[in-house]
């Protein structure tokens, strides 16, 4: 498909770091995010949320709220169409609309504190706020369960009295909070452990953590009297917002136009809908546009964090460092509805290593918490905390450098996976080697300081994308895709287009089109956009090059086979074709009317050939023995990205992922009180890293190109968040001699571990 791309040719613009096309808007305050849209006659909505962790909803009385002047409508769960109980889509990301509509708005039961139970549309924000206080909900409070181990106990309160665990044969006779069991098994575990010289088995717990995007969810909806409707929504995929919203409200896709608002961070958490169906239904009930902005408290209480977990991992090695067997039991909090990323975790946990005998069992467990949503490499960082901690202990036991232990067992092209297909790419060993060669890796440390290493795997994604390319009347170029730009992808799309067409970056402008203006694009997630959408941009550019050659052939009155495209110009293939001056885009565009009209193409793809991402990292930390506070002194993160298209944004992804990992490791956690209410639903008490907590993060870009992408792209967004938690735990062990088995490793926990060790 890449007939025009000579992969051995030196790149002119790919790999540089130009200013992004949407940059000026974003530094001048002009860019419009989800909450920045308004329309004439617009109403404001507020959502009433359950104060209880678990309660039957006996009745909801909205009369007083409706009577308040300025209130135009009140809706509850009953106003939404119901859906069949059915899991649809691939198992790893299966969706059940019966659950989804109940998460959007509770029906029979409120299943977590913050669960939406009713929504108001009113003429002002203040009236809407006043109105939700007038809604009377009669709750029957039920016993609740928060912890994942408590939730699978025999006497646990059940969220769904008829939930029978999926994935178990024969099916259990009794219901439980275990929604699903997943298992991947290879080889003979017993024989494997019997052949090991050292075996370590250890249990770990991790806290639920939030994606922590700075922009709360927000949207503006306008329902048309003829059913044709519009949404302005901040999401990681406006086509997916369209799909979910239309499905939940029983609409045709063609009747819902979704405009992509700029997105203020998502990290996986904006791949689902919360407020869009509510705003659109309120608009339908009132005939006015309706705007919803979530508060930060609501974001914490009612949008997906990623799972907390309880895990046991057992690994055996030989003295020479060969890992001979590995076993994991991973219990993940799904939140109030099934769908934790535990299946990913069972696949990713041992994926970086070639191990003959492995088993990973995953349990997807519901409890009275908000439904989990994707968060950067969903699942993989959680299991990696356990696996990479145990590997560190084993490296110490056999007296081997922890990087060398990983290098010895690293997968490469041809290595098996536990889920079937073989690995088809190198790149992991290279991330380890670059750190072994790093000048800081051998540098001596001071008192109370420690160095830790860890590695991580993520699948990276491909999938469905569409792009269009138009040559404007003046010969400049517009490319459009339907992939939301969360971190500079407009720039990387323009770079790949410019490289393919052989024109300067500034001649190509790159936009994100609404759902009515371009074909389907799946979400910006799974580290897929630069790979898959990039691939289709290149494909579209190659198609337009064929069209430009045809136009040049018409202008010269020669056969198209006699025209080549080189460095942005149509040229005769050789002297036999004729003596013609090369034709620029401008020259060809000027004659478009007589050669066939406007010059443009749209291309679509379901991109395969994606290659996984590997990251290996080391960090140096210092522990204050009097307070347990951990200070990060140095952090070096190597990641194989295949090829960096926009170098600085690739570095930025690695730096950003590492810092989210540092927060996950040291501070971030959902804290519940005994009533099942979240105690820290704000940025003051749920503390994400701030600038003064951190050193510079050194991103080491490793480029082992993916031969199945025209520029070698693998993906960059996610693998970087997999290693930091274990790397920090391993560094804390070296500094203190204390093995931390629970996240976050906050000062009280580290201090308690130090005190326990010192007796």
């Amino acid at each position: 498909m890449t007939t025009h791309q000579n992969s051995t040719k030196a790149m002119k613009v790919v790999g540089t770091s130009p200013v992004r096309p949407d940059g000026i808007q974003k530094v001048t305050g002009v860019a419009q995010y989800g909450a920045d849209y308004s329309l004439p006659g617009m109403l404001w909505s507020q959502i009433l949320r359950s104060p209880h962790a678990h309660a039957n909803i006996r009745s909801i009385n909205v009369e007083k709220a409706l009577a308040l002047p300025g209130v135009k409508a009140v809706i509850t769960g009953k106003d939404f169409p119901d859906h069949k109980f059915d899991y649809v889509g691939p198992e790893r990301v299966a969706v059940n609309y019966w659950h989804m509509t109940r998460n959007i708005m509770a029906r029979e039961k409120a299943l977590y504190e913050g669960h939406a139970v009713a929504a108001v549309a009113a003429s002002t924000r203040a009236i809407a706020e006043q109105a939700i206080k007038l809604i009377e909900v009669d709750y029957e409070i039920l016993p609740h369960v928060i912890d994942v181990d408590d939730a699978i106990a025999d006497d646990a309160p059940l969220l769904f009295p008829d939930m029978i665990t999926r994935g178990v044969e024969p099916a259990p006779s009794k219901p439980s909070n275990i929604a699903k069991r997943t298992e991947f098994k290879v080889g003979d575990l017993e024989a494997g452990f019997a052949s090991a010289d050292e075996v370590v088995e250890m249990s770990f717990k991790t806290a639920a953590v939030h994606q922590g995007y700075i922009e709360p969810h927000a949207c503006l909806a306008r329902y048309g009297a003829d059913g044709q409707s519009e949404l302005w929504s901040s999401s990681q995929g406006h086509f997916v917002v369209r799909g979910y919203t239309a499905k939940l409200l029983g609409m045709n896709l063609s009747d819902l136009l979704v405009h992509p608002a700029e997105i203020g961070g998502g990290f996986g958490g904006k791949t689902v809908v919360y407020v869009e169906p509510v705003a659109l239904l309120l608009s339908k009930h009132t005939g006015h546009p309706v705007k919803i902005m979530m508060s930060r408290e609501d974001v914490f209480k009612a949008t997906g964090p990623t799972s907390g977990s309880s895990m046991t991992v057992k690994i055996g090695v030989k003295k020479d460092g060969t890992i001979v067997a590995a076993d994991a039991l991973l219990k993940f909090q799904a939140g109030a509805f099934p769908g934790s990323p535990v299946m990913n975790a069972t696949m990713c946990s041992f994926a970086p290593y070639e191990i003959a005998n492995t088993r990973a069992i995953g349990l997807d467990v519901v409890s009275n918490r908000p439904k989990s949503a994707a968060y950067r490499a969903p699942g993989s960082p959680i299991s990696a905390f356990a696996v990479e901690s145990v590997l560190d202990i084993l490296a110490n036991k056999i007296g081997m450098d922890p990087l060398k232990l990983r290098l010895k067992n690293a997968v490469k092209a041809g290595s098996p996976t536990s889920w079937g297909p073989k690995h088809s790419h190198d790149g992991f060993a290279e991330t380890i080697q670059v750190l072994l060669d790093h000048p800081e890796y051998k540098k001596p440390l001071g008192k109370n300081q420690g160095r830790g290493v860890a590695s991580g795997f993520w699948f990276n994604g491909g999938g469905e994308s569409t792009a269009s390319v138009h040559i404007n009347e003046d010969g400049t170029v517009i490319i459009a895709t339907g992939s939301m730009d969360v971190g500079g992808s407009r720039a990387s799309m323009a770079l790949m287009a410019a490289e393919t067409l052989g024109v300067p970056y500034e001649m190509v402008r790159s936009t994100v089109a609404d759902t009515g203006s371009i074909g389907y694009n799946h979400v910006t997630g799974g580290s897929r956009v630069t790979f898959a959408t990039g691939m289709v941009v290149v494909d579209a550019c190659n198609k337009i090059i064929d069209e430009l050659r045809l136009r040049a052939a018409l202008m010269w009155d020669v056969d198209v086979t006699g025209v080549i495209w080189e460095d942005g110009f149509a040229k005769p293939a050789d002297k036999s074709v004729g003596d013609f001056e090369p034709l620029s885009l401008k020259a060809i565009a000027a004659k478009r009317a007589v050669t066939g009209g406007p010059i443009g193409v749209e291309a679509s793809i379901n991109a395969g050939g994606n290659a996984p991402g590997f990251s290996t990292q080391f960090c140096d930390i210092e522990v204050d023995p009097d307070t347990g506070k951990v200070t990060v002194l140095r952090f070096v993160a190597a990641q194989d990205v295949g090829r960096a298209i926009h170098r600085k944004y690739v570095e930025g992804q690695i730096q950003g992922g590492v810092v989210q990992g540092i927060g996950w490791a040291l501070n971030e956690e959902y804290i519940y009180d005994k009533n099942g209410r979240l105690s820290n639903a704000g940025f003051l008490d749920y503390r994400i890293p701030v600038a003064s907590d951190l050193p510079m993060i050194e991103a080491v870009i490793v480029e082992v190109p993916n031969p199945l992408h025209p520029f070698g792209v693998k993906g960059v967004g996610e693998a970087n968040i997999v290693p930091p938690m274990a790397a920090m735990a391993n560094a804390i062990y070296q500094a203190t001699g204390c093995r931390m088995t629970e996240l976050p490793m906050s000062p009280p926990k580290v201090l308690a571990a130090i005190d326990a060790k010192n007796g």
Binding site: S17, V19, R20, G23, I24, K26, V27, T28, G29, V30, A31, Q32, Y33, A35, D36, S38, R125, A126, Q211, G212, Y213, I214, E215, P216, E262, I263, G264, G265, G266, F267, M293, S295, R296, V486, G487, G488, H646, K648, Y649, E651, G652, Q653, Q655, G656, G657, V658, V659, Q660, G682, F683, L684, I688, P689, V690, A691, S692, D693, L694, M696, I697
Partner: protein, 158 residues
């Protein structure tokens, strides 16, 4: 309840508005004056996305009442560029790729300008501590710090 009449100056221009007693300056700017460049990330003064200056002093506009703008001079991100000429900080943020999603950027720009007005030659540590009230979840802060230090160098003529 009658509204309050407030006379103020925003980005050098005289502005009058009516607001409710409990309305924050952030809501007035965004909902009533259509100045949506100032962002709401938390509404509780914890994230810095709504940073503005009032008579040169940096504040979270979500913690200031609209009525408090009476007789004051307010600067927002919309007033930072001089026509089409970007402020050095705006330019450096772009050159250094110091924004990914960009939602925190207006707040960081306001905060960084306030720093450089007080300290034209800050150390990396001083930049990190001054900006500790502004949350960014995308970048890990590296490139923001680099952009601010680079802007300071250029503004000093160093």
């Amino acid at each position: 309840m009658s509204k309050h009449h407030v006379s103020t100056v925003i980005n050098g221009d005289p502005v009058e508005f009516l607001c409710e007693t409990q309305q924050t300056l952030l809501n007035v700017l965004r909902d009533d004056l259509n100045m949506t460049g100032t962002k709401e990330g938390c509404g509780t003064g914890d994230c810095g996305a709504c940073s503005v200056t009032i008579d040169g002093r940096m504040v979270c506009s979500c913690l200031v009442l609209g009525v408090e703008a009476q007789g004051k001079s307010i600067q927002t991100v919309e007033g930072m560029a001089n026509g089409t000429e970007l402020h050095v900080l705006q330019r450096k943020f772009l050159e250094h790729a110091a924004l990914q999603c960009g939602i925190c950027t207006p707040g960081f720009l306001i905060a960084a300008r306030a720093l450089l007005e007080r300290n034209p030659d800050p150390s990396e540590e001083e930049v990190r501590f001054w900006l500790a009230g502004n949350l960014c979840r995308c970048t890990g802060y590296n490139k923001i710090i680099e952009a601010v230090l680079d802007a300071a160098r250029e503004m000093r003529g160093a």
